[in-house]
Symmetry: C2
Subunit: 238 residues, 2 copies
DNA sequence: TTTCCCGATATTGTTAACAAAACGGATCTC
DNA sequence: GAGATCCGTTTTGTTAACAATATCGGGAAA
């Protein structure tokens, strides 16, 4: 898949490039650590460097791109330590989110969340590709809780600033050794707390849930003091 | 004073414009809601529109500027609701920050924090302009805790993304009716918890501290068009 | 061979001009 | 007189060229 189409002519070009680039990063078309050469990408998207630079700045705000003055931009590449830091931020943010969701989510939203978990359960029961789908499903669950908290600043911090970063690294978010099944059980407990409108419990459970995911991650990737950003698929090509 | 000098020739122009514009916003030279006309500001800073637009995108990431396509940028103007949302985000983020600071702050940093509080106490004792200085001091305290948490993602979220927004609205952050004195006492308790390396307590106290500030704010700026009593948890659609 | 310096080349930073869209005011219609 | 419509102006979006900086490779000296 070389070039993204850049649809929707009415909206601004910067916007389209932004969406296309973000998509390219999250889907792995551009890999972590890849250098971003402005002329090359501009030509690829059929635009000039102006809108491209504009898009780069926005991606920088979402931590999907890092920029060093006079040296150019690269697709972000998180070390093990940074991933752990992300878990900690999520624990804080999503804990609060969940507390607010218990207070502010609409009954209909709660029911939809329950149905979502039912579908996840069916997938996990079938066992077929459970790990992978559970990854997407996990993000989906957290996404919906964020949408339900009715705090716009929190929602945007999660769904816009951090969500795509999580998507980018979801394959590293622990999905082994029966974790999907446990995660689903934790989701169920959180849902029940929200249903009971028990914000305090909902927050506690969400924090524990994310903390558990972090601990599993730390165990699986237990390189003590390796830099972390280099392993399987790697190296800025040329 | 009309024009900021744009010092430091070695660094990039975008960077300088970014700093100057941010300063102009936080100091009140540009006021919330002000329209930002690119040609005007570019001329004021003695640059072209390119670097200015670049700076605008970065300020957008820090929520200091809002941009609507084809209609231009404005200095952000937070509603009462949005300010409350900011308090909630701070409660979550700074709670975690404080927990980590208790674990990771160096002894020397803790001592400097203690000295800072001593200075604040002297100011508050003298009563002279206590409210104002306590504002800056309060931010200073929170800033240092964030610096001490040793989680770079958290630190940047607080010190870069939200700090300047808080500075912009610090005069609205409750500083009346003896709150500075109480805030100082709360700071002292937080410091003690950090000193004891008691992360759990430090987080609890910091969250309570910010929650108290929020409640005072909500009382002082009570919603004019809210019908009944204020409900902490419920929020009508906007 | 290794190291350092230097210049060719590529990439980023910046500018000014052009295109398109929004804004404001005067005029016209009802 | 109220409201809609058109047109000139202003402002934003986009482009291509120019300037400054960094990168890379080759060659000279130790």
């Amino acid at each position: 898949m070389a070039t993204n189409p850049l649809s929707e002519p009415s909206v601004t070009l910067s916007e389209q490039v932004f969406e296309a680039l973000q998509s390219a990063i999250v889907t792995g078309d551009l890999k972590p650590g890849d250098k971003i050469r402005e002329p090359e990408l501009a030509k690829r998207f059929g635009t000039s460097r102006g809108p491209l630079r504009d898009a780069l700045r926005r991606l920088e705000a979402r931590h999907l791109v890092t920029n060093t003055p006079n040296a150019g931009a690269r697709v972000v590449s998180l070390s093990r330590t940074q991933l752990i830091e992300l878990y900690q931020v999520r624990e804080a943010l999503e804990g609060m989110t969940c507390r607010l969701a218990a207070a502010n989510m609409r009954d209909s939203e709660i029911e939809e969340l329950a149905e979502l978990l039912d579908r996840h359960e069916a997938v996990v029961r079938r066992k077929a590709g459970a790990e992978y789908f559970q990854q997407e499903g996990d993000l989906d669950f957290h996404f919906r809780v964020a949408m339900g908290c009715k705090n716009d600043l929190l929602r945007s911090a999660l769904c816009e600033d951090h969500y795509h970063l999580m998507r980018l690294y979801r394959h590293k978010f622990s999905n082994r050794s029966g974790r999907p099944r446990r995660a689903l059980a934790e989701h169920r407990m959180i849902l029940e707390a929200i249903r009971d409108r028990d914000g305090e419990l909902a927050e506690l459970l969400m924090r524990r849930h994310i903390r558990n995911a972090r601990k599993t991650f730390e165990k699986v990737f237990s390189d003590p003091d390796a830099p972390g950003d280099n392993d399987d698929t790697e190296k800025a090509g040329r």
